[in-house]
Point group: C2
């Protein structure tokens, strides 16, 4: 993870198809630079959008790619060169080993100076160490965009460090920005809607939603207004076999992903300022995993033993059905009560969470002073590389609009 | 509508509580100036949000108010003075008659220069003449924010003139911006979501929604999954008596408001660039007003005679019910078919437009390449002063973020 930055093949790795004079005069100080950490499914989709969507290449100039093994630098004046290039091979064959993050910051500061453009770092990993480094990126004047939930749902100290540097709300500042739309609901307008509601003075009374695509799918199959004729364990098994769950289903069924999203949203609500969770682990979370399976290390053994507990799930489902309701695994931030929880709840068959939801969609309801009679609802696919990348790229566009 | 601008009580009308030195040093070039045309229900709510919401007064400095009678100028360095002031009296007692728009532009250019801040004009009217002046505002370097549908749904020539000056998508430009979130669905994230989808390269296949709060209410009452036991005419009568309709219900039932919203949205979809409506009047629109009532000039006579046609509405409702469906008045932009229409359609009882909608809510579904299995849905109140003002103020914040 270390390299001698004085020997970096700097500004030379990616071929430059454009005339440097032409490109320098056209775009030298327009738009922003983008440095991408993590080039898996989401990172690949981010690069695909940045290099192929009309109008983006003049605003968002990819200057660096980094995965766990290698780093590749582009030149600030020839971002388009990535478009036609096989960047995966270029990165794999880069002579630069993956830089330690402090070294990466130094290089990006140099690129920022040389290009005369602001630089944003995109973290497409789910790595805690990268998340823990955001304050350093920001202190160096680099903006941060990410779908990585770790920094915003982890220790409150890290979050507060980020807030110290984030200048999103400071009028006239040219400081670093933090955008995190894809940390909740992928490309759905969740964070931006909440931010707009709050910035214009609305009062949030309750945020309630189905935040996990996996748990949305499982309960939309298991518990319907017409009852349920499938075994809970069969649905989980099918979901695992088709990649709808993490390799170990407990990673979804534990509710911790929902707890993380609740920590993220609650930290944006001013009224909760003094009652914030220290981290997602302090969000009261109802695990759907039966206690005897809590320590089963293998995902295969987990799904094999889950049928032992079908009667328990059926009982809950029948109780809900007898009340004319369905089961949904939701996250609730009740601002008035000061209560935050991830739990299995019942909703009447006519409620949008019961009647309107299907597939693996997320649905989020914002109850506010202005939207008091009925909430503002956002619904749609809340997972997947393309829609996650869309949230990232839309955030990058916002930074380019503010800092170029 | 004319005044001698050399004799304007310039920078002197509103009292200045702050020390000019302090305020000049703190905020002279931070944020943007805001000039507000139209101070009715929406305008009042915009001013209320700008003057009372924490953090906004340092970003958004009200420098002018204008209604049909008077104009009032604030000073660029003491925007807070409006907060505690009775601005309605100040405006009513202003010695300046309402300026002709060319004169207003001159004054705002002077304020822009003197303050060193960008200036945005907010048009809270529904006036065609103000809308027709947007190109002049923009040519003078002033940004435009508005809930007024006229400019974006009217003659395509006016719209194209606006596009000539609008620099929202130009990287590095400091030119004027146009934001119009509240022209469709008030504060709901409709325009911003569509803009983000397109900017990140998604392909819109269909936009479909209940765009009229009034028609949403009428059909949510009239046509339910359990059938309908109310007379159409009774619902319209009740709606009119309670202010849910315009004074003449035909203004809602004609569908022209929906046609305007379809013109607005379709003009944002690149794939429709060569097939755009010349104006909302060229959007095929199914009027709900019975032909014999089309020329009834009085709203009272209209509701009095509407019962003559209840049997027709009942027939449609029963046909839908017999198919397990409900009636909804929707707007549809089918990009693939190149078809735009405002019409009465049937939706199965399980469709979100049938099962999830209630009250006078809007619901809008974006079907795209990325959101193909199920659409991105936004639902909530799409009318009312506070939520409309919220859309306007959120737009102003975006301009302040980009131009301060």
């Amino acid at each position: 993870m270390h390299s001698d930055s004085s020997r970096l093949p700097y500004y030379s790795t990616i071929p430059t198809p454009q005339s440097p004079i032409e490109s320098a005069s056209m775009s030298a100080t327009q738009g922003i630079n983008v440095a991408i950490i993590g080039v898996g499914l989401v990172g690949t989709s981010v690069i695909q959008q940045l290099t192929t969507v009309a109008g983006l290449s003049s605003k968002l100039h990819i200057v660096a790619l980094q995965n766990s093994k290698k780093t590749l630098f582009s030149t600030p004046t020839s971002p388009l060169s990535l478009a036609g290039a096989d960047w995966k091979s270029l990165l794999a064959n880069s002579s630069t080993s993956a830089l330690a993050l402090p070294d990466l910051v130094q290089e990006l500061q140099k690129i920022t100076r040389d290009s005369g453009r602001h630089t944003a770092v995109v973290d497409n990993t789910s790595d805690e160490k990268v998340a823990a480094f955001y304050p350093e990126f920001l202190a160096a004047g680099l903006s941060v965009v990410t779908p990585n939930k770790k920094a915003f749902s982890g220790p409150i100290e890290l979050y507060n460090d980020i807030l110290k540097y984030k200048s999103n709300d400071v009028a006239g500042s040219k400081g670093p920005l933090v955008y995190q739309e894809s940390t909740v609901g992928a490309g759905l307008p969740i964070i931006s809607s909440l931010t707009d509601l709050i910035a214009t003075g609305d009062e949030i009374t309750k945020i309630e939603g189905v935040f996990s695509g996996t748990l949305s799918y499982i309960f939309n199959e298991f518990s319907t207004p017409k009852g349920g004729d499938k075994k809970f364990s069969d649905i989980v098994k099918f979901a695992k076999e088709n990649g709808y769950t993490e390799p170990h289903p407990n990673d979804d069924l534990s509710g911790s992903d929902v707890a993380r999203k609740l920590a993220i949203l609650s930290r944006l609500v001013p009224e909760l300022k003094d009652a914030l969770p220290q981290g997602y682990l302090s969000v009261p979370t109802h695990s759907l995993t039966p206690a005897p399976l809590a320590d089963v290390a293998s995902g295969e053994e987990y799904v094999q033993r889950l049928p032992e507990f079908d009667a328990d799930y059926d009982k809950l489902n029948k109780e809900a059905f007898d009340q004319g309701s369905v089961l949904r695994y939701v996250g609730v931030i009740d601002v008035k009560k000061g209560e935050i929880k991830a739990s299995l709840e019942t909703y009447p068959a006519t409620h949008p969470f019961a009647s309107s939801l299907s597939g693996s969609d997320n649905i989020i309801a914002f109850h506010t002073k202005r939207y008091s009679a009925r909430p503002l609802l956002v619904q749609g696919s809340g997972a997947g590389a393309d829609v996650t990348a869309m949230g990232v790229v839309a955030d990058l566009i916002k930074i380019a609009e503010r800092r170029s």
